[in-house]
Amino acid sequence: MNVGSKPFRPRRGPKRITPVGPAERRAGYAVLCVLLAVLAYTLIKQTQFNPAVVAALREGPAGAKKASGATASELAPVLDALPGVAPLSEVESFDPDTLSDKIDGKAELYLSSGFKEMVWRAFGPTGGDKARFDIYVYDMASPESAFAVFSGQRRNGATASGLAENAYSTGNALFFTAGARYLEIVADSDEPAVKNLLEPLGTALLAKLSPKPGEQAANGQEGEPGPASFFPAPDMIPGSLRLAMSDAFGLEGLSNVYTADYKLGDAEATGFVSILPDEAQAQTWKQNFLKFLLDNGYSETKADDAPEGAVLLESSGAFEAVLTRGRLLYGVHEATSRQAAVALAGALDTQAREKMR
């Protein structure tokens, strides 16, 4: 018996007596070299990405096509480099088939207004601030289309911007048109530091988007006064000019109708103007519109004080007025009082008479 025995240690068997011979040592080193070679091979191989990884990094979510090749060539360079910001993503290009992948339900508005292509890129300020700008450039079929989507989405509480003829800004974003393009610069916050970058970005983009040959300002047509000029200025709510490219007022087929909102005293009214290709069509559409209103519960009322040729209709306190003059179809929509309807109709008529001289 051992008193004061040694602490228990597991039996490991006798230790090796013979020393490690040179052959054994060499073999060991050879194996270690092989291991190093394997390690080196592994580390080198990992730089050549597996095609699945390449595809995953390149393709991104389904549908987003790269802005490469002739198809997207015109727009993509616009988002190459902008002052004060660095790109946070690649340029992505969308066509009518894939637009809804990016903007989902909003695509409908663009698609019905002659949308051709959109490019998008995310940027962040180079200064180191953690902010993000999403810039969308929509290539529409014409300046009118661009104006249509611009005006159709005008937000409440927008501030007019002097950046371009059609431009407004909200707390965190800047919206404007440049010829047949509609642009949105959306920042992820309304901090002043971020907001201050919006206008310079807008200016830089405008500079990059040289107008296409033959393009006019959004509301112009060669040699003719633009529809906007048919709206009398007094009492018009600023920035309310809109263009409905198709199915205006819910009447199928009624296209290219400009509207502007007015506040006359307590009452509100919307004036509308549409230039048809010829007088016959203007008459036809007047009849169509009248029938449409009558079908929908409107009834004609006396219009002695209304301008000559105007048809005045009413339905439970809402008033409509329809006039034509030459190719022009114009009138008042959803006036909240008869007085306002008549007054605005008169103003529009005077304006039309002036312009058509």
């Binding site: 090796r16 990405f49 699945a52 088939d97």
Partner: protein, 578 residues
Amino acid sequence: MPIVTVRRISQGFFLVLFFWLCLAATVGGQWWQMRGWPINWILGLDPLTAGATMASTGTLYAPLLWSVAALVLTVVLGRIFCGFVCPLGALNQAFGWASQRYRKPADKVLANRPRPARVVKYYLLIFLFACALTGTLLTGIFDPLPLLHRSINLTLAPILDSGSPVLSLKPRHYASAWLLGGVLVSILSLNLVIPRFFCRFVCPLGALFGVLSRFTPWRIGKSTDLCGECTVCEAQCEGACSPSGRIVTGECLMCCNCLHRCPHGRIGFTTAPSAGGETPLPDLSRRGLVLGGAVGLFTGPVLRLGGLTGSNNNPNLIRPPGALDEERFLARCIRCGQCMRACPSNIIQPALTEAGLEGLWTPTINYRLGDSGCQVNCIACGQVCPTAAIRPLTVDEKRGRGDFAAAGPIRQGSALVDRSRCLPWVLDRPCIVCQELCPVSPKAIYTVTTFEAIRDGRGRVMAAADDSLELAGLGPIIAPLAGGDYYLRRSARPDEALRRISGFSGNKIGLVKAPGWNAPPESGEIVDIVVRLQRPHVDASRCIGCGMCEHECPVSGLRAIRVTSENESRSRRGRLIL
């Protein structure tokens, strides 16, 4: 540096490398993700996979060329792979060593004595080769490298994944992982009974290496017969090959423990045969070999008699995109689980019964499990398959673009709407989730709009205004009438337009103004509240079977739209549409 130290370093190195390559097999560019890590390199070293696929397909798939290295190494030096490289061998050895540590030397010698059952692995090897010759590849079930890949990929790796959002954003799931976990635990636990149990009795790769090491010029052996039979070497022998007696060189795992431990240094790795005598392989009975081969030749065709690769195929067996037709697939799949690990949607699952007994643990797709349907631009599964049972596709080939426009996209099957379960078809609930999510363009799911009267939605008009009606007789309605999907239909006046309901409070139903009605409703007139239902239909000529619809269908149990294997590209038989 003693060779056993080098051996331990090597085993540790390959074990760590193995675990790393398993963990990294996820699509992505970060250093802990796939990048270009050679995740199939260890599988490629496997000459059993190479040889068996050569037997079953008549070709050697290029990445398996690496097995030449292991083969030549074994032919010249013996079972170096088993002792220095094999990660399952390393794990088995570690578990065995831990369980033997505190035992008496005499017990250790007993544990490492040669047992007759060690011949089983040779019969298994013959069986697997014979089976492979008939076109049925079952090596993956027993071959340690695919086995360990599968076990780690489908049990340990997802457990680690769920522990860290870095590895995987969402926890990953694998059907019947319990079985795989059980197998892994069993294999490792058996080492507590007999060390390196799997290596000594089951491993067909080891058996192959044993056969290949028949002519090694160098092998372990005693330098003199004048050893005192102290059996220290036997106590440490991992291969149970009797180094102190007549050594069975084909069973020697090259652990070099005997060489290291012999108190007098009498064991060496030399060209001379062992002084105690040597024999290349254990006593294999010819009867056993013939039987093993015959059973193998019989098993393959028997497994196919059920017609599972032909007319009796399981329609719920959806294979990953790029998979070969079933017969060729089963001749190549080694059930390594790499595709299951790499799939970013986590929808590739090990089959239990879906593909029959022959298809055990082969990849099948389960769209209910996982994150989404098969992502249209993902080509991970084919790109990580070590034997091309799933062909490596390019995105263009998968989507049918570019050069492959004439061939069209790869279809995994076709979705079909279950009209007995779909919300707009039977529950009068608007839903077009499947149509919204269909990723192909133009969409393979289109809707047909119809209006159905809702329950308790019939009322009598009490009062009518331009933009509202007061109704009586309506039952309790909980549907969201103002949501934009509900309309009012005048029962006796079908020519009148349906007017959309804009609001509902008490008995008053608000109606959207346009379009209006030609004649206002009379008092007492019957009206119905109808719901606008967009009922989904699948256009089988466009459906690629990606399962996005099935995955997202809100009928969460048995989905109202399900993908089945009809119309899958890989099989001519299942064509739905010409």
